[in-house]
C-alpha cells in the first residue's frame, strides 16, 4: 500500500469491514495514527480493528465523511450553517439504543466535534426535565434508601424527586 492511499479498511468490534477515506479518518487522532501505521508499514495485510460496534461505526464514519471537507479546508459560513442543520438531523436517533454508543465512540476516538455534539444531545434530553423523567429516559435506577432521599430533600429544598 502506498502513502497516496485514499481510503483504508477497518474492522468493527463485530468483525465487519468498513471503508473510511483518509481525509475523514483524520478527524480522529487514533484513526490518524492507525492510518500512518497502515500507510508506512511494510506489513499491510493486517486490517486494524476499531473497538466500536458496526451499527455505531456506520454513524461515526457517516459523520466523519460529512465533516471532513470542512475540517480539512475550512469553509464558508453558509456551509457551517448547513452543517449545523445536518448535525441536528444526524443526532435524531434512538437514545436508548445508539446515543450511548456514539458517546463512547467519540470519547474513544478523540473526536472533539462529535463528542461535543453527542454530549449536547444528551444534555438537551435532560434540560428542564424532572428527576423522574430523566431517570425514565436514561433507565437510571433510583438506588437511594428512603433515609438518603429524605436527607437529599433537606439539603436541596428547591429540587424534587418527582
Amino acid at each position: 500500500m502506498s502513502s497516496s492511499v485514499e481510503a483504508i479498511t477497518v474492522l468493527s468490534s463485530d468483525g465487519d469491514e468498513f471503508k473510511i477515506t483518509v481525509s475523514a479518518a483524520k478527524l480522529s487522532k487514533p484513526l490518524n495514527w492507525m492510518l500512518e501505521d497502515v500507510c508506512f508499514s511494510d506489513d499491510c495485510d493486517e486490517v486494524p480493528t476499531i473497538e466500536v460496534n458496526s451499527k455505531t461505526l456506520v454513524k461515526v464514519i457517516e459523520y466523519c465523511e460529512k465533516h471532513a471537507p470542512r475540517a480539512n479546508s475550512g469553509a464558508s459560513d453558509s456551509d457551517a450553517e448547513e452543517l449545523k442543520k445536518w448535525d441536528i438531523e444526524f443526532m435524531k436517533m434512538d437514545v436508548k439504543d445508539i446515543l450511548f454508543h456514539i458517546l463512547m465512540a467519540a470519547n474513544y476516538l478523540h473526536m472533539e466535534g462529535l463528542y461535543d455534539l453527542a454530549c449536547q444531545t444528551a444534555a438537551d434530553l435532560m434540560k428542564g426535565m424532572t428527576v423522574s423523567q430523566i431517570r425514565k429516559i436514561f433507565h437510571i435506577k433510583n438506588d437511594f434508601s428512603s433515609e438518603e432521599q429524605e436527607q437529599l430533600r433537606r439539603q436541596h429544598p428547591g429540587c424534587s424527586f418527582d
Binding site: K96, C119, H139, S160
Partner: protein, 227 residues
C-alpha cells in the same frame, strides 16, 4: 434495560453536565448514587433568572451553589438576569467569590438595571473571554487581564472616556472587541499613551469615532456603529 449512562466515565458525564444550567445540574444529584456528587465539580456555573419563580429563590440558589461547589473546577461563569433586579451587594459577593479561581470565561448580564462595578473588578489572570451587560464604571484601579482575547461591553456606562481608554489600553492581546450601547461623555483626546494598540484584533464591532482608525490596522472584520 440497564443504566448505560451511569456506566460512562466521569469526564464524559461532566461534559454532558457542562451543557446544562446549574439548576438542572444540581437536580441530577437526586438521580442515583452515581450522580450524587458530580454536580459539586462543575466546569461551568450558569445561572439564568428565567428558570426561577422568584428573585429570592434565585439569589438563595446562587448563594448556596457558590458555597457548595468546588470553585476550583469552575472555568466558565455565566449570570443572566433578564427578569429580576438583584442587589448590587449580592453581585459583588458572587463576583468576589470567583476572583481567586481559574476562570477563563466570565459573562455577567443585567437587563433591568445598571450595576456599579467595583473599581478593582478587572483583575482576572486567566480570563480570556469577558462579556458584561448592564454596568456602570466610575473608577478604575489597576487592571490585570493578561489573558483576555475577547471583550464585549454592552449597555455599560463610563464616568468618562478616559476610563474606557485606560481599560482598553491594558487589553493588549484582544482579538475580538464588541462595544454596544456605551454611555460615555466625550472628552476624547487621542493621546498616544492612552490609546489602545490592538495589534491582535481580528473582529471589532464598535461605535464610530471612538478610536482613531490607526488602532485597527490589523482587523479583518470591522463594524462601525453610531454611538
Amino acid at each position: 434495560m440497564e443504566d448505560r449512562i451511569g456506566g460512562l466515565p466521569d469526564s464524559l458525564l461532566f461534559h454532558i453536565l457542562s451543557f446544562l444550567q446549574t439548576k438542572d445540574v444540581v437536580a441530577t444529584c437526586m438521580l442515583s448514587k452515581r450522580w450524587r456528587h458530580l454536580w459539586r465539580l462543575p466546569s461551568k456555573l450558569h445561572f439564568d433568572d428565567r428558570s426561577f419563580p422568584s428573585v429570592e429563590f434565585f439569589v438563595q440558589f446562587i448563594d448556596a451553589a457558590l458555597r457548595l461547589v468546588r470553585l476550583n473546577s469552575v472555568q466558565m461563569f455565566v449570570l443572566k438576569c433578564e427578569r429580576f433586579s438583584v442587589l448590587e451587594v449580592e453581585v459583588n459577593v458572587w463576583v468576589n467569590a470567583l476572583t481567586n479561581y481559574k476562570l477563563t470565561y466570565l459573562k455577567l448580564h443585567f437587563r433591568r438595571q445598571l450595576i456599579l462595578l467595583p473599581s478593582s473588578f478587572f483583575i482576572y489572570n486567566t480570563v480570556s473571554v469577558l462579556k458584561l451587560t448592564g454596568f456602570v464604571l466610575v473608577n478604575l484601579s489597576p487592571v490585570d487581564l493578561p489573558s483576555l482575547k475577547a471583550l464585549h461591553l454592552k449597555n455599560v456606562k463610563f464616568s468618562n472616556s478616559k476610563c474606557i481608554a485606560r481599560l482598553l489600553s491594558y487589553c493588549l492581546h484582544l482579538e475580538e472587541l464588541v462595544l454596544k450601547g456605551l454611555k460615555v461623555r466625550f472628552e476624547f483626546e487621542h493621546r498616544e499613551d492612552e490609546c489602545a494598540r490592538f495589534e491582535h484584533l481580528l473582529f471589532a464591532d464598535v461605535p464610530a469615532f471612538l478610536f482613531p482608525m490607526e488602532v485597527f490596522s490589523n482587523v479583518q472584520f470591522i463594524y462601525l456603529r453610531q454611538l
